[in-house]
């Protein structure tokens, strides 16, 4: 491959995007007043949030999405590099699956009491073992919820 050409860049590794969406009710959780848009500065960053003009509270959180970043491509073909890539990919898949199911579960139960971690996505699993466990626990809750619905 020629040096200094665009051929050296593949995929979107040099151009990363991170985004989350937080869904809330439009009325303050504490005092029930309609929340309003407010601009504020976070260091140099201009930001916007929805808060209660009366108490500064927020609407009840329904669900927050989670941005899972794909693993970096392997930099060499040694067993160690390839193994790391395979494990990172597996973790990415499991984590994506957990958050997909979590967001759907929290959205479907917007009017019910469910564990806060299913609404916020935090703490998010940090390794393969935690991701499998979190997914299994959520699957059990969803099964109970489906049974209860019937």
């Amino acid at each position: 491959m020629e040096k200094g050409t665009t051929k050296e860049v593949s995929g979107r590794n040099a151009f990363r995007v991170y985004a989350t969406a937080e869904q809330r009710t439009g009325f303050c959780e504490k005092c029930g007043i309609k929340t309003e848009k407010q601009f504020y500065m976070d260091g140099e960053r201009k930001r916007v949030r929805i808060i209660c003009p009366n108490c500064g509270g927020q609407g009840r959180l329904i669900v927050k999405t989670y941005s899972v970043q794909p693993p970096d491509a392997p930099q060499c073909i040694s067993f160690r590099c390839l193994y790391k890539f395979v494990m990172d990919t597996l973790f990415c898949g499991l984590l994506s699956n957990y958050h997909r199911r979590r967001v759907a579960y929290a959205g479907a139960n917007r009017h019910k009491e469910i564990l806060e971690r299913y609404r916020t996505g935090e703490p998010s699993p940090k390794n393969i073992r935690q991701a499998i466990l979190a997914d299994v626990k959520l699957a059990i809750r969803r099964k109970k919820w489906h049974r209860h619905k019937q």
């Binding site: 985004a19 601009f39 609407g59 999405t65 941005s67 699956n97 959205g107």
Partner: protein, 138 residues
């Protein structure tokens, strides 16, 4: 489907045109995506043809609007990141599968994001978008 997000090919083309001062415009607008099932963000998506069978919302609070706040931040090198914050407020029951972040001419999509799952919004619900894109030299 996992949440997917990407800078689109047309977005990169617009960015290069902006560097060239060739009549391009910067990040200015945002719109919600309408689809019954979760979509998958793709680099080939365009403003006119979003991911999968998604379409742009044209009402209920998720329609094309000026982004509330576009700013910059530092991740690796000084000011290497553009940040965008926006709050949608639903004016009726509506499903949202993702977002498009567009230019000021409203004809190019810079960034496409498809959420983990389709979000069912009810009247007065708010959806706060917190996004950033980093040009990474690392």
């Amino acid at each position: 489907m996992a949440q997917t997000q990407t800078v689109t090919d047309t977005g990169i083309k617009e960015l290069i045109a902006l560097w060239e001062e060739a009549g391009a415009t910067g990040m200015e607008s945002i719109v919600g995506l309408n689809m019954a099932t979760p979509c998958t963000a793709a680099v080939a998506s365009t403003f006119a043809d979003p991911a999968d069978t998604a379409t742009h919302h044209v009402g209920s609070g998720l329609e094309l609007a000026a982004i509330d706040a576009v700013s910059h931040a530092t991740v690796n090198t000084a000011d290497d990141t553009i940040t965008f914050d926006h709050v949608f407020t639903a004016t009726g029951s509506i499903n949202v599968a993702g977002i498009h972040v567009c230019n000021n001419d409203d004809d190019v999509t810079f960034i496409e994001c498809c959420f983990n799952a389709v979000l069912a919004m009810e009247n007065t619900d708010t959806l706060t978008i917190d996004g950033q894109s980093t040009i990474d030299q690392a």
